[in-house]
């Protein structure tokens, strides 16, 4: 019997939330939340060291009966793809608690309960090896996020939260029907590893693929299902935005890797060119819309659409290099965009305005802030030496390998990305200090610096040592490609749109 490390990671935030339920003192609540988040982070660290990188098998597996009547199990485990996301989730939770320390002054207790419940449900999605368990965590996530946006958000929070829930709920309930269909065709099992071995008839694959992919595409979000994201991001409190950008959006892409591709390989091939094109559209369209934004948070939110387009493009190249890039870029985006949202949140705490026009000239006044801001802007652009560079580079390699025009359009996204980030940087950092905010701003404090430093170190670490990270995913990814997408299959499938372009 192994040490139940994954269950512990899942359980600790819930226990923390229950403890907080009985507390009254806000400082005590915050410290408890911080402590719980830190404990969970440190408990998740051994995953990093003990993980066997050479194996594509699930590790740290725990299986217990859950609903024996329908053969549903409580089964958890991680492979090279999910292990990094578990670590990312625990880290992002620590950051979210830290960044909310001063920003949250109403309903403090409920807020931190929600953050901790959110942590459990996010990690639950990544580690589930049982479809029903996965779905339960997937849907359960809606509740804390709905409240995080709706209660502690900005002026349009109610609209944004409802939109968020209905989009994602509508996306995912069809997945439930598909899960049921899979359950019966797979011989009354919810076991993900068992179901992966199925060879489903193409008609069924198409139906199920659409249902699953819709659910994931809403979460990513892919164009044209992305409209909930800017609203949710803009209205959410800083911690909410950080969690959204850091982890929640990754769940959709993770779903593609874990379910859509291995379960329905033939259907994936059929829809591949459509998904590739939608990814490129998201990259370019997202970047163009980002250029026009006047609100700091909305700008970063729209840039997420563009960045996530890169991620899905990488995954749907179905080449090892592209997929590794896609996964790496998910983590990169979580770190960099999470950090940018933290920065926006910190400055918003002081000035209570997110309009870009209200800023300017921060460079001489806030040297520490600008130091971090510069750094993360460069990371977002993908300067060599930062993590995003490696991710984008690998994705583009994959795209060019697959089909040259795909890569060519995606590069356009990088140029536009540089444009909007630099332009934003110019408007915030240079020029004259705006009168409106002159008396409000002061530089970052130790807590804020401490929040950002781990992210900064990660950016550099991944930037200079990407191999360390890709080595975790490598065997899982190559196993997926080797077993499900043999090279002959890819070569022989005529992709209608690609054929037309040729």
């Amino acid at each position: 019997m192994n040490f139940p490390i994954l269950s512990l990671i899942l359980l600790i935030p819930v226990i923390g939330a229950i403890l907080i339920l009985f507390m009254k003192n806000p400082t005590l609540i915050k410290s408890t939340a911080m402590l719980v988040a830190l404990i969970d982070f440190f408990i998740s660290l051994p995953l990093w060291f003990l993980f066997d990188k050479n194996s594509h098998a699930m590790q740290f597996v725990e299986v217990y009966p859950w609903i024996p009547f329908i053969n549903a199990k409580y089964a958890v485990g991680v492979d090279g793809i999910s292990v990094l996301f578990v670590l990312l989730s625990t880290l992002i939770t620590v950051i979210s608690v830290s960044v909310s320390w001063k920003a949250i002054d109403k309903k403090v207790k409920e807020f931190f309960i929600m953050i901790l419940l959110m942590e459990t449900s996010m990690i639950g999605v990544f580690v589930s090896l049982d479809l029903l368990l996965f779905y339960a965590f997937w849907e359960a996530m809606l509740i804390p996020m709905f409240l995080l946006i709706g209660v502690w958000g900005g002026p349009n929070r109610v609209y944004a939260s409802i939109k968020f829930v209905l989009f994602t709920f509508a996306g995912s309930v069809l997945m439930l029907v598909s899960i049921l269909v899979l359950y019966f065709t797979g011989g009354h099992t919810f076991d993900i590893l068992e179901l992966m071995k199925l060879n489903l008839p193409l008609n069924m694959q198409i139906f199920l693929f659409i249902a699953f992919t819709l659910a994931f595409a809403v979460k990513v979000p892919m164009f044209p299902l992305h409209t909930w994201l800017p609203d949710a991001h803009t209205e959410a409190p800083t911690a909410g935005s950080v969690i959204l950008a850091g982890v929640l959006l990754k769940l959709g892409a993770y779903g593609f890797l874990r379910f859509s591709m291995p379960f329905f390989p033939e259907a994936t091939m059929m829809f591949l060119s459509l998904l590739q094109v939608l990814s490129v559209v998201a990259i370019v369209y997202g970047a163009f819309v980002t250029l026009k934004q006047t609100d700091l948070k909305r700008l970063i939110a729209y840039s997420s659409v563009s960045h996530m387009g890169f991620v899905t493009l990488g995954l749907f190249t179905l080449t090892q290099i592209g997929m590794l890039g896609g996964i790496l870029q998910m983590i990169n985006h979580g770190i960099v965009t999470g950090a940018l949202f933290c920065l926006v949140g910190m400055i918003y705490e002081r000035t209570h305005t997110r309009q870009i026009a209200d800023y300017g000239g921060l460079k001489p006044t806030l040297p520490i802030f600008i130091l971090f801001y510069t750094f993360f802007t460069l990371a977002a652009i993908g300067l060599p030496g930062t993590n995003s560079f490696m991710g984008e580079f690998l994705i583009l390699c994959g795209a060019f390998l697959r089909f040259i025009p795909l890569g060519a359009f995606a590069v356009l996204g990088i140029i536009l990305g540089t444009t909007y980030m630099i332009w934003l940087y110019y408007r915030v950092a240079y020029g004259n200090l705006n009168e409106k905010i002159k008396d409000l701003i002061y530089d970052l404090g130790p807590r804020e610096i401490l929040t950002l430093v781990p992210l900064l170190l990660l950016v550099l670490y991944i930037g200079f040592q990407p191999g360390v990270f890709t080595s975790y995913m490598q065997s899982s990814v190559s196993h997926l490609i080797a077993t499900k997408f043999s090279s002959s299959m890819i070569a022989h499938t005529t992709l209608p749109l690609v054929g037309w372009l040729r």
């Binding site: 009547f69 329908i70 409920e110 965590f137 409240l147 709706g150 359950y183």
Partner: protein
Amino acid sequence: MMMFKVIAPELFLIACSIFIFLSALFIKNRRTFSILAILGLLITGVWKYSLRASIFNSSFSVDSIDVLGSWIIILIAIYVILISIDDVAIPTTSYGEFLTLILTSVVGMLFMIGSRDLIILYLGLETLSLSLYILCSFYRKDKLSSEAGLKYYLMGTVATAILLYGIALIYGATGTTDFYNIAKSLSYAKVLTDPMFIVGVIAVIITFSFKSSVIPFHAWTPDTYQGAPTPITAFLATAPKTALLLAFGRFFIGSLVPIWVEPKTVLIVLSILTMVGGNLLALSQENVKRMLAFSSVSHVGYMLLGIIVGTQEGLSAILTYLIAYAIMNLGAFGVVFMLKNGDDMSTYNGLAKRYPYLAGIMMIFMFSLAGIPPTVGFIAKFQLFLAAVNAGFTSLVIVAVLMTITSAFYYLRIVMNMYMKEPDVETEVVSSDFTKGLVLSLSILVIVLGTLPSIFIH
């Protein structure tokens, strides 16, 4: 004597209700009455549990599904009695009658659940309905309450008359009213084309639809739910549904299997109408009780799926759903009851600020009703959909699933009002700590059964 042994629990409960009715002349303490009634119900339940038999040529029997169904009803009745101790709108002078009526309605429901014969089903249904008509108008000074009772009464009697008519026709066509013998006689091709029989079955379906407010026979539901005393609304929304779905489910599944195609088509149409209509009508309600009324209509639509499946698996899925439904609905109505002007939507504005725990509890019930995990509502829906997909009704499940999304709109609206709006009217909690504890334990049950469903699914 065997005969009496099997129906002894019901007879005992009748005796209890008569005793309470008579002693109401001398005792005026609400608590004493309530304890008596609860004891009576508990003894009946335990007694029933020890029995597994059938009598009257198998026209009344007790099996494990019956026992579970009876316990659901008994526990609902106990809950309703417990929260109505606080209800000052029910005068102490008539509190004995109130309890008597609840007990007799339980007797009626127990008879319905155990019935394997249309006549016994009819008797049970009438006993239940007559008690409910009076209970609905128990706030005598309230106009809405009188209207509720009257409407329910007029619609209900028409429905039972139709049932009687249907039974007569079925008897005419098959020569029996017994579920088992009807099924046997159906193997003769003659009966299948007999218009008399078909009209008879349709009449039974109509009565069932009336009583369990299936659209388009639901018109009485919102007014009755709104007007009736809140504890009674909670009762009305849960207990009779349990009895109706189990009893009629048995009739549809047990008798009509050889000709299952035609009645099934009718039920499929009714189920779609009910799911779609119930949810769409609930969307626009400004009164919480009315909203919950329409939501309960839609839940019956989901449960019809279990009957349409037409197997024992479907029936047990309905049972699971009924348990879940009872827990979350009783809880939601309990919160409505605990608040002054609880049926007004604006009462919930900013509730989380004034009563964070109460709002949290209500939120759990709303998420459960919407079927979002980790709540018992999700597990119930899941099991029902599982049975339906297994029987090949995937497209019907898709309709159900789409309607689930629609329902999220109005359930979330209450959560939204509680957490995201500022309080604009004075909200006041008007109930004892006991009721609060009761509702709180229901909300804990929603989560516990939602995460560890194997406790109650067998």
